[in-house]
């Protein structure tokens, strides 16, 4: 681009005083005498609308882009608008401007627009002696500018970048220079192998020392700006040279201006190459200057030169915006030879790229533009030569790869604290150090009743019994609390509580979902989770067995049952579906669940396109997809009768044989019916054969033999080919992919491409995400908030950890203790941090420092469990098929296929909430009302809402009424005294005696009930199980 220098026009008017600060006349035109500048703005690159014509009520405007300025003048009263504009028009004409417009605008104000080459000038009067001047020095698009800089670097090793101005005698960069700096930053970003030195230079005015200082400061401020805009500081350095490397004499202002500059020099590792001589510099009229000088270019082989001079500018200007290593739209990067040969989501073919460039076929690139035939010829020549290009063009991975969560877990040292007496274990050091830094003291330890209630609800999901409370309060030994921790960790109910947390993630339910929503056989998986948790199966094995138990050598029955984890996907058996579509949906759900459960990554975002924020490409998504793509599930209509396969049949040999025989009979009968229908043309209801077969089938179906079975994972002998689904559409198959893990994470040691390989990778100690995500989620259950608040998103859009060192310490401790979950629980619940009171305080009101505990409303199932325990009805049985406690009539009114809810009797009526049969299309209302997840997708955190429907449920539901009656019986059994009965109720429900004011209020209620001939104790019991304290973990 040629430099634009317009000599000042005739000095029509003389200078005035008292302008708005920082404003000055345009270089193109000075002002009318006596007028002042009210305001002004200058932009280094912007668009301005120039008036080019007027028709009746409409103005024709033309947007001109370039360096713009707008100056508003106020002239002495009596100055005529016409006079101002006539004068300006005259000046423009005599300076050789072409007149574009002269006359009145739609507001009847005077206006004039002129143009000379790339310079545009418009003046318009405003009311009452005001006018404003708009000038534009038209410039090519910034995009092209940047391409020119890069091309220049490619050919000559340097380019001149104009437009970065500093304030006089200052290192402050003028705001209008930011547009240019933005482009420099972008250029550096797209050439990540360049390391640059920013050099400051001044003119010869002033002392040598001062000049050295100023030039260094300028270089530093340019460097700081670039770092602040995303350029890694490791790539930049700066130095001030003062006037030691003059480019021009110091005798004229032009020469001095020429010398004040910032230079950029590319460095090869640590060795600094001297910049070339700047003898061919353009005339420069800026206060500071940037040269980009690149030395040490690759060897100037003819191939390299061809690439640099001809190919690169085309790619830079037309392709890399969407197809770079940083932005692989459609999975395609055109920045490395390897990535071009690998191709994008459409497959590995250079022809696809060439045809797109030629505009042959459906795909035409670049979009909305066609390369010239010369440009296409260059690309073709380059392809024919084998795509020669420098290997070090791009070195870095996709952005985001440097994100904290993706870095290895490093065990931090323990921080020192002043109040060491508070510390019970190492967790407390991290928590206290941050509190001390914020001058917040920890809360006092909670009282024993609160502690035991909290601990028991957290570890087993059950409140303590009256005896347990009494025992703990009476235990004066120093390890009284520790004993409770061990008792509860050893309880069989511990596995139920922590198993249920895991079942949220596993999206466990007892029915298929979608339309038919039939019951399914998978409760054995639920029991496996409880059992494995109770046994404290190390978390790495826990994961491997669920992900790929079937691929372990000689898998045991429990290891096969464990693979039900990824069979908890919903399945659709509606008539008329394409089974493949729903199989693909299930596989996609497995990818998403794996991401949320272990990696804290929102992998689902990369199903239709590359992840917008995290370095997961669409290709990588389908590489993960490929791990799960081989299950022997129903994928075609012909297999409908095998729905929900594969199963593990857990029955005796004779049971299995009986079942197989029954299944074969059904298949045979259906086959006979199909054949008969093909040949028979009359009314089928009148055909004896058909009617006979139908009866036979009905009888067969009624008499289905019982065969315990559970859904499991089992792969096909031959792998299903996996493809990238273009736009996420399973019908549009792109390039074939092989199983693989995302490139920005440590790679899998086992490259077999099996689910086992993926599982082993997930729990490889080198994988930084699984341990971090897991310990964070456990922490979240104990405090209501994770160390990372966004527990399912550890990506670049997620929240940062409030205590990053603690997170890594816990993660490394988790691995060091053999992935023992019980050890992790023990560690957390024995900390002083956990044992704090939950009373609200003014210091740290949001509890960001964990300077107190949080009160947490109980989970849906636990509300039922706590009520069962209080009522004395609780049935402690663990495991077994799901049960049917009372449910309000009409819940199944809304299901497509009417289901029958056969209310359980005996102990099954009083089982824990987690055993309630979960029908996806109509879950038990008391579960959903209290925010149990709907089990469609993996749930890593439950909401905790507070609604009137909850009040109605706990007050009025049939089950609550039964609980209240049973609790009342327990209270009245202690004797006749109202006071004793009430105290008994409080101790049963809350573990404590009522306070005096509570007792007074309650006894008043009892009297009112008696006065109105009501039996008071059921009503009292009803109140107790509705108290906020009863519904809350303290």
């Amino acid at each position: 681009m040629a430099p634009i220098v317009i000599a000042p026009l005739l000095l029509v008017f003389a200078q005035a005083a008292e302008d708005a600060a920082g404003c000055r006349d345009s270089a193109l035109l000075t002002r009318k005498t006596g007028c002042l500048i009210e305001s002004c703005s200058r932009k280094d690159f912007d668009a301005a609308s120039m008036l080019t014509g007027r028709t009746n009520g409409n103005e024709t405007l033309k947007d001109i882009e370039g360096k713009t300025e707008e100056i508003f003048y106020l002239c002495p009263s009596g100055t005529s608008g016409l006079e101002i504009v006539r004068n300006i028009a005259g000046a423009l004409k005599s300076a050789g401007f072409q007149m574009i417009f002269e006359g009145k605008d739609v507001d009847k104000e005077h206006a004039v627009t002129g143009r000379k080459g790339s310079a545009w000038l418009m003046a318009r009067t405003n009311s009452e002696g005001r006018y404003h001047l708009t000038t534009v020095i038209e410039q090519a698009m910034r995009q092209e500018l940047a391409a020119q800089w890069e091309a220049a670097i490619g050919t000559s090793g340097r380019a001149v970048i104009k437009g970065i101005e500093c304030e006089i005698a200052s290192a402050r960069i003028r705001p209008e220079s930011e547009a240019v700096l933005q482009r420099v930053a972008q250029m550096l970003a797209s050439n990540p192998s360049w390391r640059m030195r920013v050099e400051g230079h001044t003119d010869g005015t002033g002392s040598r020392a001062a000049n050295g200082k100023l030039s260094a400061a300028r270089a530093a401020s340019v460097m700081a700006w670039l770092i602040g805009h995303g350029i890694a500081s490791s790539r930049l350095t700066h130095e001030g040279f003062g006037d030691t490397r003059p480019l021009a004499a110091n005798t004229t202002e032009a020469g001095r201006a020429h010398k004040r500059r910032v230079e950029f020099a590319r460095m090869e590792s640590t060795r600094f190459h001297n910049t070339r001589k700047f003898d061919k510099m353009s005339v420069v009229d800026r206060i500071c200057l940037i040269f980009v000088a690149v030395t040490g270019l690759m060897a100037q082989s003819p191939d390299a030169q061809f690439f640099e001079v001809q190919v690169r500018p085309i790619l830079r200007a037309n392709c890399w915006g969407c197809h770079s290593e940083a932005n692989t739209t459609s999975g395609l990067s055109l920045q490395t030879r390897e990535s071009i040969l690998r191709g994008g989501n459409r497959g590995p073919s250079v022809d696809i790229i060439l045809n797109a460039a030629r505009h042959v076929g459906d795909l035409k690139m670049p979009p909305n533009k066609k390369l010239t035939s010369e440009q296409v010829a260059v690309i073709e020549k380059w392809a024919a030569a084998g795509l020669p290009m420098p290997e070090n063009l791009v070195k870095s991975k996709r952005p985001g790869a440097s994100h904290w969560a993706f870095q290895p877990v490093v065990r931090p040292g323990l921080p020192t604290v002043s109040n060491a007496g508070w510390v019970r274990n190492d967790i407390d050091r991290f928590i206290l150090a941050k509190m001390e830094a914020s001058h917040v003291a920890p809360s006092a330890e909670a009282d024993r009743i609160t502690l035991l209630r909290r601990l028991s609800l957290d570890l087993t999901g059950l409140p303590p019994t009256v005896e347990e409370f009494k025992q703990f309060v009476a235990d004066k030994s120093t390890d009284a609390y520790q004993k409770q921790v061990e008792r509860l960790l050893a309880s069989k109910h511990y596995g139920e509580r922590w198993g249920r947390h895991w079942l949220d993630i596993a999206r466990y339910a007892d029915s298929d979902g979608y339309t038919i929503d039939a019951p399914r056989d998978i409760w054995m998986y639920r029991d496996w989770v409880i059992e494995a948790t109770n046994q404290d199966k190390p978390f790495n094995e826990f994961v491997i067995e669920q992900m790929a138990g079937d691929q372990l050598p000689n898998p045991t029955v429990p290891q096969l049952v464990a693979t039900g984890f990824h069979r908890n996907t919903t399945s659709n058996y509606e008539g008329g579906i394409d089974f493949e579509q729903y199989r693909v949906e299930a596989v996609a759900d497995r990818v998403a669940t794996t991401g949320a459960a272990f990696l804290g990554l929102t992998l689902g975002c990369a199903r239709c396109h590359d992840h917008k924020y995290d370095p997961v490409s669409q290709r990588e998504y389908y590489q993960l997809f490929a791990y799960f793509n081989n299950t022997d599930e129903v994928d075609k209509e012909a297999e409908r009768k095998f729905f929900n396969k594969p199963f593990l049949e857990i029955g005796s040999e004779s049971e299995k044989a009986e079942f197989a025989e029954w299944q074969q009979k059904i298949i045979n009968a259906e086959e006979r019916m199909r054949k008969r229908l093909e040949t028979y043309s009359g009314d089928p209801t009148k055909d004896e054969t058909l009617v006979g077969i139908e009866k036979e089938l009905a009888t067969l179906r009624r008499n289905k033999p019982k065969l315990p079975r559970t859904m499991i994972m089992k792969d096909l002998a031959e792998r299903r080919p996996a493809y990238i689904h273009l736009g996420g559409d399973f019908m549009r198959k792109g390039a074939a992919v092989e199983p693989g893990v995302p490139g920005f994470l440590p790679q899998a040691g086992n490259s077999s491409g099996t689910r086992l390989a993926l599982a082993q990778w997930l729990v490889d100690p080198k994988n930084p995400l699984t341990p971090r995500v897991t310990v964070n989620r456990v922490w979240q259950k104990y405090f209501g908030r994770g160390i990372v608040d966004s527990e399912s998103d550890f990506g670049t859009q997620g929240d940062k950890p409030t205590h990053p060192e603690l997170l890594d310490w816990l993660a490394s401790e988790f691995i060091a203790k053999g992935w023992s979950q019980k050890a992790l629980h023990r560690l957390i619940v024995t900390s002083a941090t956990y044992r704090q009171a939950s009373t609200a305080r003014t210091a740290d009101p949001e509890n960001k420092l964990f300077s107190r505990q949080n009160r947490l409303r109980l989970d849906a199932e636990v509300i039922r469990d706590a009520s069962l325990v209080a009522s004395g009805l609780f049935a402690p049985k663990v495991g077994g098929p799901s049960v049917y406690p009372p449910q309000p009539a009409g819940v199944y009114q809304v299901t497509q296929v009417r289901r029958e809810w056969k209310t359980s009797t005996g102990e099954d009526r009083y089982r824990r909430g987690m055993y309630t049969f979960f029908q996806r299309s109509a879950p038990h209302p008391s579960l959903i009302v209290f925010d149990a997840p709907d089990s469609s997708v993996s749930c890593t955190r439950r909401n905790r809402s507070n609604t009137p429907l909850q009040a109605l449920t706990q007050l009025n539901d049939e089950a609550s009424a039964e609980f209240a009656q049973a609790l009342a019986k327990r209270m009245t059994s202690v004797g006749e005294s109202d006071s004793a009965r009430l105290t008994a109720g409080y101790e049963i429900a809350l573990g404590r005696a009522p306070r005096a004011d509570e007792k007074d209020r309650f006894l008043r209620f009892v009297r009112v009930q008696r006065d109105s001939q009501q039996e008071p104790w059921v009503a009292v019991a009803r109140v107790l199980i509705n108290l906020d304290e009863f519904l809350t973990r303290p």
């Binding site: 689902g604 469609s936 997708v937 609604t947 009040a951 539901d957």
Partner: protein, 458 residues
Amino acid sequence: MNPLLQTRRHFFRNSSLSLAASYLQAATRHHEAKIDHVIYLFQAGGPSQLELFDYKPELTKYDAKTAPAELLKGKRFAFMDTFSKEPPKMLGTRRQFKQSGNGGMHFSDLIPNIATVADELTMFHGVSTDNFNHGPAKLFMNTGSVRAGRPSIGSWVTYGLGSESKDLPGFVVLQSGPRGPRSGAQLWSSGFLPTSYQGVPFRSTGDPILNLSTPKHVTPDQQRQTIELLRDLNAIEKTHTGDTEIDTRIAQYEMAFRMQTSGPELIDFGKETPETMAMYGAKPGAPEHAFANNCLLARRLVERGVRFVQLYHTDWDHHDDLTKPLEQVTREVDQATAALIKDLKQRGLLDRTLVIWGGEFGRTPMGEVREKGKIGRNHHIDAYSIFMAGGGLKKGTIVGGTDELGFSPTGQPMHVHDIQATLLHLLGIDHKKLTFRYQGRDFRLTDVAGEVIHRALS
């Protein structure tokens, strides 16, 4: 992130959410709202637009001719096997059509009552959707996604706007017909939004809301005393813990009590005039009048400030017969639909209410024979019809159209996400701005698509 947003987000994730809180929540409208309430008459199963509104005389000419291969090329249908065994034949309607109103709309003899309110309607022909199976397509229409787990349209609206009702939920679901809609509660789920925005199903028998009645032995006085006692005891607990969540719990119990008193009044049609009852064809307790009863209940809900009322009526899935079963369901629906629109209008409520009528997809111009001597239509996702009535719309106007066979849309296409965007637009919500961050992504009802159908707006 904006600290206020952060607070709001944290607030939503962790607690203090309630119908009362959503009542108090300032309406966050992005532009002037044309309507305040929605009554969505969801016709589950896929009503045949070709037997109701989309009059295609040309199709009748091709009746019984084999569908041209190029018409079906690249198209996917449910029950592919029936269509692939033997090329399907075109099917002209057997119904009589008449024009009604000033806009030239056609209505078949199955829906004479709806025809009388033609000048209140905005008819959309040629709407397309993504999935040809009932469950997923219903999820798509209601949540913008074919998979369960996203919030439903009523949840989004109450999340965005709150409710005007102090003693009723903001989003109410009513159900009629021989069975529940496929996908069930997932259709009105709040997904990852707080459960306070979930649709609350009102029942046609027993309590309108689950557990609205107190247990048998509890008198209304005792219930009031119970709530007062809970209030006082919880207030004491607040003084010891300082937990503001307790205030919310107190408020929730008080609102529950108000719901208990207003609920019975709501479902008591005793004060409705005989004329009104006759106009709807309502008859409390009679299952064959369930849709009519629900239409009347919908009006009463809107009168009491409920934001979003959704009626599901099954079953419109006429694969094998377009005569008696279709006549039955239109008989159940036609009169009450028209009555609801007239009634809202005469009460001055139609200006601020949107009535929307339609299913998850339409039916093919090709016939489907499953049983000898009978003929029905398969699911069709490329071009179906829905209609709306209410504020902000061009009344008596047809928007869009279909080709002469009724197979494909003509003119600018209209997709389910566009219908959703338009509905939100009428409520003053920009569908691109009503988002909720979940597992690292900002979700919205219209996913990544949706354009407001401006040509339907007045």
